[in-house]
Amino acid sequence: MTDASLPTDGAKPQSGSLTTLDARTKKRNAAEKRFRAYGVAAIATGITFLFVLLFAILTSGLGAFQQTFLTVPVYLDEAKLDKKGNRNIDDIKKVSTFGYNPLIQKAVLAEVQKAGIETPLTKSKEMKALISASAAGQVRAAVIENPALIGQTVEFKFLASSRVDGYLKDRVKREHLARDKNIDAEHLDIVDGLLEAGVVAKTFNPAFIFGADASESRAEQAGIGVSMLGSLFMMFVVLFLALPLGVAASIYLEEFAPKNRLTDLIEVNISNLAAVPSIVFGILGLAVFIQFMHLPQSAPLVGGLVLTLMTLPTIIISTRASLKSVPPSIRDAALGVGASKMQSVFHHVLPLAAPGILTGTIIGLAQALGETAPLLLIGMVGYIASNAPDGIASGLLDPNSAMPAQIYEWAKRADPAYYERAWGGIIILLIFLISMNTLAVILRRRFERRW
């Protein structure tokens, strides 16, 4: 074997030089290049879609964070608001919001005339199209809270009507006004004048983030705050039920349960449950929690219970994976120094698996936070999120909506201003999801141990 079978007769070797490529190598290299190009193209397409999506969301939704306001001093006429003049709160409450409208309209007209705007509209009633229907409720609430205001001139910051707001946001265009019965060109002329006079201004609107839902006639007033609380309470329920149940179940299955047909069956079914469409859990929740257990409809407690069912398999699967990743030597060492099985699990295995469990839980919660379908069936979609809860019990039991359900509801409504709010709601929901996922990544990076 010392003499290798090198060709000695000086004939040209068949395979050629290593530096010049033969046809087959060229073909293989070309195939590889093509494959890389496909990969780059696939990633580029994905990124393009992501940017288009982000761009669409931001351009359509950022407008919702700004709102047009009118700052108007209103004379709170005693003759209208407290006819008896005795400041009796019960008598003042008898004046409904409809009694306040004329005062507000008069005040707006006075501002228009003060600003010296030339307009054919001279009746105070004609100012109605400019201001939100919420103005009367706002003034009434202020008066009921402090009856001493009656007889004074108080400055209020009213929401402008959704059409005026749309005009400042370029949504309502003058060429479309001809058949719009909600507003006309004369009103927009007034808006232009008031804008110059500084009465009308578009500013940041915290009420969109913290406020309650509003009816179809007041798109300008609607906010996502109350449904955010609904989501929060649901997440509490999910966290307090799904985490202990899921962790206990996976510890038992992973560390204690005997390996037999029954546990195999349970394992397979847990994996299957994770793939069950969420609407199925919704109809299960309707049948079990509302129709059988008589829990209240539209309550975040029920929503949380349904989402718990949905999240449990996710948590069990990720918990078992992280328990499995703890090497058996840890368990053996603990058992070797005399720890009981339970001590070895709770003192050694569980702490080491905790980062993985937390990550899985947070991802599961994020999934539950964005879920809409099961909430449809238990009555959490509609005109619901209008009362802010005043405590933990009412937060769990009083009707409320959830963020994705609220967005879905807004997208259905007739006033185009709601469309913008739906996109705005998506921005807020995305911020929540991104921060939850970031938290999961950070936890994993900081605490996860590799063996």
Binding site: D180, L241, P244, M293, L295, V381, I384, K412, A414, P416
Partner: protein, 345 residues
């Protein structure tokens, strides 16, 4: 540790379940056509009364009435919104579950309009016969009842544009579908003489009436089971399509839609209230009398809904697109007296 946590969590849930018996806000479900009106009323109600704002869900008239009829007790809804009258079948289903005393409240009228893309073909005037000729499976051609040969609108009416027939109509779970069938398709069936021809061909009157309501299922008439926003999106994507909308929805979207006249009448709150515009329907809500006095604010809500300042011709509902009921005073009296259906009316 986890076991204890689980046990306490379950205990919390159990406590919550027992304290859930009381409910202090009115619960409403039903027609998506009535939903905007109900939400406007609910909001104003919350503003003006010390009661909490009622909860209003949609889902369609039939679904709402079904939930309403499931029984008496705080876990069931108090009010069902409907864009049609309650059916005898539903009253019977209600009675079987112990829901016997129902107060029917008519809040006003709603117009159903045919609209198309603002910059689309010139669909500006329809008659019931046009819609029937376009969508029915059997139509009259030259005095004979034949399978519908029409492909374009201009095939049967030279005044209409030469565009392929495409209509987005409400799905069968909507109360609007019934009105569309009865006031448009069936009316067209009679006007074109198809009804008589069917009778002459030996059909019984009932069969002929049913046949008159049919629309073709070859894709030219598309059922929309969602809301009007879905119809609007379909119209946006199909320039040659016409869609069926509620008047209020159309009036909120005049920058995208143009409306067609029906039998020469332009739809508006005025033409509907005078009865000139042919395609309109009453809107209702139904109140469970057994819940009055149990659910705080239920009667006040019902009375507030039909009060002059809300449902009257100058109220916020009319502003949104409801055609107010000329007989509103009678409705107010009936609600005040808690007059139930079939009782003494």
């Amino acid at each position: 540790m986890s076991v204890k946590l689980t046990a306490s969590a379950l205990a919390i849930a159990a406590v919550a379940a027992t304290s859930a018996a009381a409910r202090d806000q009115v619960q409403v479900a039903g027609s998506s056509t009535v939903l905007p009106y109900a939400s406007i009323v609910a909001e104003a109600f919350g503003e003006n009364f010390d009661f909490p704002t009622p909860v209003v869900e949609s889902g369609g008239s039939s679904a709402g009435l079904k939930r309403f009829c499931q029984g008496v007790g705080t876990e069931h809804t108090d009010v069902a919104n409907a864009s049609r009258k309650i059916r005898d079948k539903e009253i019977k289903a209600c009675a079987e579950n112990g829901v016997t005393d129902i107060i029917e409240v008519r809040i006003g009228y709603d117009g159903i309009v045919f609209a198309s893309q603002l910059d689309g073909p010139d669909y500006s005037a329809f008659t019931q016969s046009d819609i029937f000729n376009a969508l029915a499976p059997k139509v009259m051609v030259d005095g004979k009842l034949v399978d519908n040969p029409h492909k374009k609108w201009s095939d049967f009416n030279a005044d209409l544009p030469a565009e392929d027939i495409l209509a987005f109509i409400p799905g069968t779970k909507h109360g609007t579908r019934e009105v569309f069938e009865e006031k448009v398709v069936a009316a067209g069936c009679e006007a074109t003489g198809a009804f008589e021809a069917m009778m002459a061909a030996g059909m019984s009157e009932d069969d002929a009436e049913d046949a008159c309501l049919e629309v073709m299922s070859d894709g030219r008439a598309v059922d929309i089971d969602g809301d009007y926003t879905e119809t609007l999106a379909s119209i946006d994507a199909n320039a040659n399509g016409i869609g069926v909308f509620g008047l209020a929805f159309y009036e909120n979207n005049t920058d995208k839609l143009k409306v067609a006249t029906m039998a020469g009448v332009e739809p508006s709150t005025e033409t509907i209230s005078t009865g000139e515009y042919p395609v309109s329907r009453p809107l209702f809500f139904y109140v469970k009398k057994a819940h009055i006095g149990v659910i705080p604010g239920l009667k006040e809500y019902a009375e507030f809904f039909v009060a002059d300042e809300i449902a009257g011709p100058d109220g916020p509902l009319a502003e949104y697109g409801l055609v107010s009921d000329p007989a509103l005073v009678e409705t107010q009296d009936a609600v005040a007296a808690e007059k139930t259906m079939g009782g003494d009316s």
